[in-house]
Amino acid sequence: MAKVLYIDYERCIGCRACVIGCEECSGHDHLSRMFVDELNPGETVAASPTPCMHCVTPACAESCPVQAIAIADDGTVLSASLEKCIGCKNCTYACPFGIPRVDDVKKVMYKCDMCYDRTSKGRPPMCASVCPTDTIRFVDEHEIKSEPPKEVQFKWDFGGTVIETRTVIGMPDTETNRYGFREGDGVQS
């Protein structure tokens, strides 16, 4: 019963509750690991939250010269280990999703670890807990990948390199423009 993050980003209202919630997670040292990006400032107010995608083959860990990025037993890609990370920023540049950040003063990379202290004990991550619009949900991995409520992204093909991610992104419904629904199917979260 592995659970993963599901991001249905067309529901996002850009309130940034997830960014603040992330800071509150006990292992996060008041460094938020969540991003809310404005997609086209000046043309639209559309925003989108991005947590770590938790790749099966993480480019960040592969490009780390000191093996500071560990993968937990359940597949969660953890943040950099404090004593190993040398702040070189290889992961920041390698990640195709633009997730890891480096604190230049503390010389340490920090990224979403899906609130591992919470999720490893069955609690949902902070961002999913505080999201007021159900943009970020903590759902069963098998279910969301095999019977998605709408078109989703979790296999990314970059010029032949296929990267599978545990985090699932819901594609906007540009056909009927009904948020989160396809022809009368409700979404069970």
């Binding site: 480019a59 540049y93 390698a94 633009g98 950040r101 296929v162």
Partner: protein
């Protein structure tokens, strides 16, 4: 998992390890040979420690070999060593050695308490290493040159003389006691922090976190007990304490290359990083044009990912995702999922989804 070996030659690691271990053993043997003046001043009391030290060096060499064979590590070492050979680079390295390893400023920026605890532990351990290795490998010994005067001899060269009961001599005899006390204070602070401030350091397991602390405390306490026994207990239990101390030290030496202590060798790569970031030419993001990295590092990262069969290119262009700043990477994915065109203003390209969740050049566009 798309797992690929790091190198095409599956025997590469074995060959390199064997070669490096051979070199290290030869250097070690000659350092012992010269240091002990052709085995004339060989300290048999430390014989057990000698073999554990040799084995520790062998294991460490194997571990370092496997580490430096990883593409990103190899690349960073090479770049760092290349940059070091310029005046600017050398100045950088010395400055970073002082701030990172000497003063450990980055830890102070994380928290004052942790900085104090780490200074005690790290300098206690580093000085203990210096004293232990120089005595165990017979690089240093004391000769009685006059009835009440010792000469400190390093590699057969007399360095200085001191009275056998001078303050300096007493400070030197107890060198390992001072470092041991520092280690006990530091480990005590670390244990206190782990018990009271139960922060969830999720990337560490209990055994990984607590065992090294207990081990360091065990080494320091058994070592100090030797002095207590000799000075105030007329040597009672000395042999047992000596054995206990030797066992804890040997466990530490063999555990060193595969444990939390492994971050000590890793830290020397961190010395290269500020130079690596400062001495390269800045690169602009292909979409928004902000300067976000150095061109050298982006090339290095692309090379390392290619070696691991994890290149993340943008189809039908010469660009990779690492040619964009982090924010533009995130936004490009979202826009293409909306079916919108993604404009790379800086590179003057228009992109769209490749229908497989990646990006590609807009059909009909030209590179």
């Amino acid at each position: 998992m798309n797992f690929y070996p790091y190198e095409e030659d599956s025997l590469l690691f074995s060959k390199k390890s064997a070669r490096n271990v051979f070199i290290v053993l030869v250097i070690l043997f000659f350092s012992v040979y010269i240091g002990s003046e052709q085995f004339g001043y060989f300290d048999m009391a430390l014989y057990g420690y000698l073999w554990a030290t040799v084995l520790c060096f062998v294991l460490l060499t194997i571990r370092i070999t496997s580490w430096t064979l990883r593409p990103p590590t190899r690349r960073l070492w090479k770049q760092g060593i290349k940059m070091m050979f310029s005046a600017k680079g050398l100045a950088f390295v010395f400055k970073t050695l002082y701030t990172n390893i000497g003063e450990q400023r980055f830890i102070r920026n994380r928290s004052g308490y942790r900085w104090a605890q780490h200074m005690f532990i790290s300098w206690g351990v580093i000085f203990s290493f210096a004293i232990t290795f120089s005595l165990v490998l017979n690089w240093l010994h004391f000769e009685l040159v006059e009835p009440k005067t010792y000469a400190a001899v390093v590699f057969g060269i007399p360095m200085f003389r001191m009275g056998v009961d001078s303050l300096l001599a007493i400070a030197i005899y107890h060198g390992l006691n001072w470092t041991g006390i520092a280690v006990i204070i530091g480990c005590g602070m670390a244990l206190y922090r782990r018990v009271t401030d139960e922060k969830k350091i999720v990337e560490q397991s209990k055994e990984y976190d607590f065992f090294p602390l207990f081990l360091l405390i065990a080494i320091s306490i058994t070592g100090s007990l030797l002095t207590v026994s000799a000075l105030w207990m007329e040597g009672a239990f000395y042999l047992g304490i000596a054995l206990a101390h030797q066992i804890t030290v040997i466990v530490f030496l063999l555990y060193f290359p595969f444990s939390k202590f492994w971050h000590l060798p890793l830290r020397f790569l961190a010395v290269m990083v500020p130079m690596y970031h400062a001495m390269g030419e800045q690169k602009q993001c292909a979409r928004c044009g902000i300067e976000y990295a150095t061109a050298t590092q982006i090339k290095d990262v692309q090379l390392a990912l290619e070696k691991r069969h994890l290149s993340v290119p943008i189809d039908h262009t010469t660009l990779h995702f690492s040619d964009l700043c982090s924010q533009c990477r995130r936004v490009s994915h979202r826009l293409s999922a909306y079916g919108a065109k993604v404009h790379f203003r800086k590179a003057n390209l228009v992109l769209e989804s490749n229908e497989k969740n990646g990006l590609q050049l807009k059909k009909g566009g030209d590179q």
